[in-house]
């Protein structure tokens, strides 16, 4: 899997799926349309500033709340190449794997990396590099079973291949 590399958007604890994509936009399931409202209730500038390949970093319990898959879909469609967090809420974690949005758990990286840093993630080794600060972190590798779903770029392809 190719490395992710980009500029960091940084958020705190308990970023819920209602702020990732508010329910008032759930009358659409079009990824491009959802992406235009991604994060708007906590960060109005996100959609204006985000560029393809950028990285989202947050601390505890990222993606808590509603099971809406529209949340990881909106993040992926906005151009974000990877989400790094201390912990992910479990439904978001499943959804991200299932739709092929790369995510990685690492407490130190989540706490130390700051907004605007340039960060690179090597998915094969689980290593996270903060190129701005010159620091390096070891992220949590996926169990082989989940890695297979990620390698297939999502659950649908994984099931089709079986």
């Amino acid at each position: 899997m190719e490395n992710a590399k980009g500029i960091v958007f940084k958020y705190g604890d308990n970023v819920d799926t209602d702020v990732i994509i508010p329910a008032r936009y759930l009358n659409s399931s079009d990824p491009a349309e959802l992406a235009t409202h991604c994060m708007e209730d906590i960060d109005k500038d996100f959609v204006k500033k985000v560029k393809k390949g950028d990285i989202m970093v947050a601390t505890k319990n990222f993606g808590c709340g509603s099971s809406r898959e529209h949340a990881p879909i909106a993040i992926k469609a906005s151009g974000i190449s990877c989400v790094i967090a201390d912990t992910f809420a479990r439904i978001f974690y499943r959804n991200a794997i299932n739709i092929g949005l790369p995510i990685i758990e690492c407490a130190d990286a989540a706490n130390e990396i700051e907004a605007g840093d340039e960060v690179e993630v090597d998915f094969d080794s689980g290593k996270i590099y903060d190129l701005t600060k010159g620091t390096e972190y070891q992220g949590q590798a996926f169990p082989p079973f989940m890695q297979k779903i990620i390698d297939a770029e999502g659950l649908v392809n994984y099931i089709n291949a079986k």
């Binding site: 308990n14 819920d16 209602d18 702020v19 508010p22 329910a23 008032r24 759930l26 009358n27 659409s28 399931s29 209730d41 906590i42 505890k60 319990n61 808590c64 709340g65 509603s66 099971s67 809406r68 898959e69 529209h70 990881p72 879909i73 912990t87 809420a89 479990r90 439904i91 499943r94 959804n95 299932n98 739709i99 169990p143 079973f145 999502g154 659950l155 649908v156 099931i159 089709n160």
Partner: protein, 420 residues
């Protein structure tokens, strides 16, 4: 090393004698659920799968409930997509407007969820059915699609936290107060990836509706599921509502728990979660200032059942909603609506100056039927008080029981029946 209730159910559905926390398994599904928001995405994903149709037309439930009756053209298109899929695949349990209700109140009432089942639903509050001793958990749309296509889902076997309940709930204190108390104690990620098992002699004093409310909000502590032992009350409920065969699983005496909490129900007080997280709880006694409100919502998959409406009616009987307050009451299903009518509860609500709506998730997730403007405050019996959840990002939601919500509607500020 023994197994918890949840682990036993998962082992049985994976064809294994034994599982332990952390193990990855593939389990057979007894029911796959979706609603009008999550199903269209699942249907689109299923179309990409190389399958002929659904695995079992009797084991899928499709409940348009979030934005129905259709709130706008886009929602109507989503509902149409779900309806056409249901007809095309001859889905037995598709519930049209007129039959539908809020999914997590509806499915147990229709007898589709019973003890020992493994249930996934593309809605985070699918954990509600743990009240009947089922393993049920929320997933996303792609998992729902895979479940509909294959009848299977992968799970990481969860560890568990045990809540040992003693005593019984005091007057005007309900299951909602207990689960808010617990979330306040352990935090919104306090049970992340884990089961919450509610056991002990205190369970006896909890009505089925209390148990549904408690299991429903397990997700608000980050849990994978919440689950209750199957006692005589649960069996009576299933006998009344279902013809499905159920299986009772009990935790082993030597089951392993990551943490154990003992809670004396007698000591609980009406509890309110302040903005903007369900863990920001205070008891009514800790609220000394006047918190003026604009709206009250009584309903949702958490608290729109008949016990909840009876409690609200008891508070509102011969009283009036305070001037300037909008009080919106939403029975969760058609059957609950009808029963509330027959018991005269709807008359009480309307005479008090409340409005009564057809079943819908509507305001809980900021869909419609009670959206908040900037600066407005709502006391709601719903389950989440995140930023912007019920409307404007500068509005506020206070989560509470039906008793507190109804009393607050009368007082025009956060209150409880004992203060009226």
């Amino acid at each position: 090393m023994g197994m918890t209730m949840t682990q036993k159910i998962l082992a049985a559905h994976a064809g294994l004698d034994k599982v332990e926390a952390g193990q990855l398994i593939e389990a057979d599904l007894d029911l796959v659920l979706g609603n009008d928001i999550t199903s269209p995405v699942a249907i689109k994903e299923m179309d990409k799968m190389k399958v002929d149709g659904v695995f079992d037309k009797d084991k899928i439930a499709l409940v348009p409930d979030h934005f129905v009756p259709n709130k706008d053209i886009k929602s109507a298109e989503h509902c149409k997509c779900v309806r056409e899929f249901a007809y095309r695949n001859q889905i037995t349990n598709y519930f049209e407007v007129g039959q539908m209700g809020i999914e997590h109140a509806l499915l147990p009432e229709k007898g589709l969820t019973v003890a020992g089942d493994v249930i996934i639903g593309a809605d985070s509050h699918t954990c509600t059915y743990g009240a009947l001793g089922a393993f049920s958990t929320g997933v996303g749309s792609t998992d729902m699609a895979a479940g509909m296509a294959t009848g299977k889902a992968w799970f990481k076997v969860p560890g568990a936290i045990k809540f040992q309940l003693t005593g019984s709930l005091p007057e005007w204190v309900s299951g909602k107060d207990l689960i808010l108390h617990i979330i306040g104690m352990i935090g919104v990620d306090g049970a992340l990836y884990k089961s919450m098992e509610f056991v002990g002699e205190g369970v006896k004093s909890l009505s089925m509706d209390d148990r549904f409310t408690i299991a429903n909000m397990a997700i608000e502590a980050g849990a994978k599921n919440g689950i209750f032992p199957v006692d005589e009350l649960a069996k009576a409920y299933m006998d009344e509502h279902s013809t499905k065969q159920y299986t009772v699983y009990e935790a082993d005496d030597d089951a392993v728990y990551d943490e154990v909490y003992t809670i004396d129900l007698n000591t609980l007080r009406p509890t309110i979660a302040f903005p903007h997280l369900p863990e920001n709880t205070k008891t009514i006694d800790e609220i000394t200032e006047d918190i003026k409100i604009d709206q009250v919502v009584i309903g949702s998959c958490t608290n729109g059942r008949i016990d909840d409406l009876r409690c609200a009616a008891k508070v509102l009987k011969d009283k009036k909603v305070a001037p300037g307050i909008r009080c919106i009451i939403i029975p969760a299903t058609q059957a609950i609506y009808l029963q509330a009518m027959e018991e005269g509860l709807l008359k009480t609500f309307i005479e008090a100056g409340a409005v009564v709506s057809t079943p819908t998730c509507g305001p809980c997730l900021g869909g419609y039927m009670g959206i908040l403007a900037a600066g407005e405050r709502c006391v709601a019996t719903t389950n989440r008080n995140f930023v912007g959840r019920m409307g404007h990002v500068d509005s506020e939601i206070y989560l509470a029981s039906p008793a507190v919500a109804a009393a607050s509607a009368v007082a025009g500020k956060i209150s409880c029946p004992c203060r009226l």
